[in-house]
Amino acid sequence: MKLSPDDIEIRPYRPGDEQRILETFNRCFSDVDPNFEPRTLESWRWQYLKNPSGWRIMLALAPDGAVVSQYAGVGQRVAIGDRRVSFSQAVDSMTDPAYRRGLKAPGFFVLTGRPYAELYGGRGEGQDLVMWGLPVPSAWRIGAKYLDYELVCNVNRLELDAERFGQVAAPGGVHIEPFEAFDEGFDDLFEGWREGRAAIQVRDAAHLRWRYDACPTQTYTRLRAVRDGATVGYLVVRPGAFDHLDGLLLCDHLTAHGDEEALLALLHAAVELARAGGHERILGMLPDAIPEYLTLQRAGFRVRTTSYFLVGRPYGRRYDMRWLYENWYYTLGDTDLV
C-alpha cells in the first residue's frame, strides 16, 4: 500500500490505540518469528501502561486509524548517585509489512523515531537522558544514519556450562531462601545496595513487583540471600533462552557493592536449581566494568560473544556512550529479552 507522509498522522499513543497497535504488532512479528505467540492486551498493558517508570510510544497512523508504524520504549528510573533520571529501552519498533515499501527512504522507522526522540529524549523534566536498545542490524544501520544511534558495546554473555557447575562453592555465613513476591522492604534495601554503583536502574519494590511478580507471560523464581537475619541480596531466575541457547537465565541480581559472599551464595543456589531442572547451562549478561563480571568468571562462568550489541543515544555530553559503558550496572532483566 502506498502512503505519502501527508496521508499519515504521527502522534503519541492515546488510550484506545492499543487494539490497533496489537493488530500490527502481531502481524509484523509473526512474519519474522516462526515461534511467535501473539501478544495479548494484558501483556501489552503490563509492559507499557503498568510500568512504574512509564511508557514512550510514537505511532504513525493511516487515515483509517490502522497503525502503520510504531517507535516505542520502556521507561526506566535510574539512580545516578543521589540523582534520579530517566532512561528508556527502545522496544517493539515496527512497520506494517504492507506499508514498508510505500514510502521513500528513510521510511516510517525514522518518521516515527525522530518525533519520538524529540518528545521523549532530552535533559528536561521527565525526559530520557539516555535511550538505548539492542537493535537488529538493519535497525542499527538506519538508526546510526538517521537517529544518532551510537554503539555502547558488543554484548557478551556469561555462561556456566554444566561441567563447571561444581566450581561454584557455597560460602558459609549466608543462606538462601526462596520467596514469593517482592515487598516494601526492597525500597530501603535498594538504597543501600546502590551505593558504590554509578548508574543503576532503580530496583525498588514498585519496579521489582512490576517486572517479576506481575509479569503475565513469565514465571520467575526469586531467591534472597540472608546473613544474620538480614537480606543481603536477591536473585531472579527462570528457564529460557538467551541468544538461541537454552538454560537457566540469571535475570536479575543485586547485592551490596563488593559483597562477593552473598553473590556467590546466590549463584550456588542457581546451580542447584539448574541441576534440579536438568539445565545444561546458566546464562547471564553483565557489563564488563563491574566487579561482579570478574566474580562470575572466577566462579567458572565464561565470557562468550553474542549476536547482540548495545546501542544508545545520549542527551548530554556528560553521559555519553563511553560513560555508559564504564558506569552502568545492568542485567538481563533490564532488557525485554527475559
Binding site: L151, N154, Y325
Partner: protein, 330 residues
C-alpha cells in the same frame, strides 16, 4: 602565525617534524622520551608497506600531523592496506584558534581525502584517546566509528616455572611464518598479512623496544606457533603484554606449550602477570579463559573507518582479526 599549509610529508620536513613531535608528546605522557631520528625512520621510512603522512606547516614549522602506519592486509579475497592511525598532534600554540577550523580536523580531513580508498587503503583504525575519538566522532567528515570497547584477557604470574623444552626463543622470522599465517588466517575475514618482512620489521628490528619471541616447531623444524611479549609501560610496566599470538586454533597442544612459555616468562622477578587481547569471537578468547585467564574491562577501544561497503564496521566487528602488534604504541 601565517597561513597554514596542509600537504603530504616530504623528506625535507623530517627535522621540523621531530622537533614538534617531541614537544607535543613530552606534554602528556610520563612515559614520553624524545623520539630519535632512527625511531622515526623505523616507523615511517622502513615500514615495508610505506608511509602515509599529512602535515600542517606554518612556514617551515610543523604545526600539525595526521599519519598512519600502512599494514598489508588480506580482506575477503583481495589484498589492500589497513592503516593504523598513529602520532596525531597539533602544536600547542596552534590549538583552538578562534574562528578557524581546528587544525586536527583540517589535517585529518586532508589525510582522509588523500588516502581513503575502497581499493588501496580500505580501513583506517586505531585506539585513540577519548579526546581524539570525540573530536573525530563529532565531525562527520572524519568518520570515526566504534568497533568495540576492548576487554583484555589477564592473569597473574604463577611463580617460577620452567620454560617447556619444546619452546624456543626465536631470533628472527623466516618464510615459515607466512606458512603459519596462512594456516591461521583461513578463518579470518580480514587481517594484517604476517610475513617475515613485516614481522621482522615490526617485532625484531625496532630500534629501542625489546620483544621476546617464543616459537614451537615440529620434529622437522617447521614453525607451528609463535607468541611475542613485551612489557608495555602504557598498559602496566609490571605486566607482560602478549603482542602477537599466531597459533592455528586446530592445534591446541601448540597453544598450550606457548602459554606455558608465557607463564614461565611471567614467573621472572618483577613481573606480576600477563595481558592479551583477542577479538571476542576468536577461539583463543575462549581457550585463554579455559587456561584460567579472566576477561577484564580496559580503557581501550578500537575505532575504525571503512571505505568499502562490504567491509563496514559491523562486518569488521565480526571478522577482523587483530593483535596488539597491529598497534603502534605497543
Amino acid at each position: 602565525m601565517g597561513e597554514i599549509e596542509i600537504r603530504q610529508y616530504e623528506p625535507r620536513d623530517q627535522a621540523a617534524l621531530l622537533e614538534t613531535f617531541n614537544l607535543v608528546f613530552a606534554e602528556d605522557s610520563e612515559h614520553a622520551r624524545p623520539r630519535t631520528v632512527d625511531e622515526w625512520a623505523w616507523a615511517y621510512e622502513r615500514n615495508p608497506a610505506g608511509q602515509r603522512i599529512f602535515l600542517g606547516l606554518d612556514g617551515e614549522r610543523v604545526v600539525s600531523h595526521y599519519a598512519a602506519w600502512p599494514l598489508r592486509a588480506e580482506v575477503q579475497d583481495f589484498e589492500t592496506h589497513f592503516l593504523q592511525i598513529a602520532d596525531i598532534f597539533v602544536h600547542p600554540e596552534y590549538r583552538w584558534r578562534k574562528g578557524e577550523q581546528n587544525l586536527f580536523l583540517k589535517t585529518g580531513l586532508a589525510y582522509f581525502a588523500a588516502f581513503g580508498s575502497q581499493w588501496e587503503d580500505v580501513v583506517h583504525f586505531g585506539m585513540p584517546n577519548k579526546r581524539h575519538f570525540q573530536l573525530g566522532k563529532m565531525h562527520e567528515g572524519m568518520g570515526y566509528d566504534l568497533i568495540r570497547p576492548h576487554g583484555m584477557l589477564g592473569r597473574g604470574s604463577a611463580g617460577p616455572l620452567e620454560m617447556p623444552a619444546e619452546v624456543e626463543l626465536l631470533e628472527r622470522f623466516d618464510e615459515q611464518v607466512q606458512w603459519l599465517y596462512e594456516r591461521c588466517s583461513g578463518a579470518w575475514g580480514a587481517s594484517t598479512i604476517r610475513d617475515a618482512t613485516y614481522l621482522n620489521w615490526r617485532l625484531v628490528d625496532h630500534p629501542t623496544r625489546e620483544y621476546k619471541r617464543l616459537g614451537v616447531r615440529d620434529s622437522e623444524g617447521v614453525l607451528r606457533g609463535l607468541a611475542v611479549v613485551r612489557r608495555v609501560p602504557q598498559i602496566d610496566p609490571n605486566l607482560l603484554t602478549v603482542i602477537e599470538w599466531l597459533v592455528p586454533p586446530e592445534e591446541p597442544e601448540v597453544g598450550e606449550l606457548l602459554q606455558r612459555g608465557l607463564l614461565s616468562l611471567a614467573g621472572e622477578p618483577g613481573v606480576h602477570g600477563l595481558v592479551a587481547m583477542f577479538p571476542d569471537w576468536s577461539p583463543w578468547f575462549e581457550q585463554f579463559q579455559a587456561w584460567g585467564w579472566l576477561v577484564h574491562t580496559s580503557p581501550y577501544f578500537m575505532v575504525g573507518r571503512s571505505y568499502r561497503k562490504s567491509v563496514d564496521i559491523q562486518w569488521l566487528r565480526r571478522h577482523w582479526h587483530y593483535q596488539f602488534s597491529d598497534l603502534d604504541w605497543v
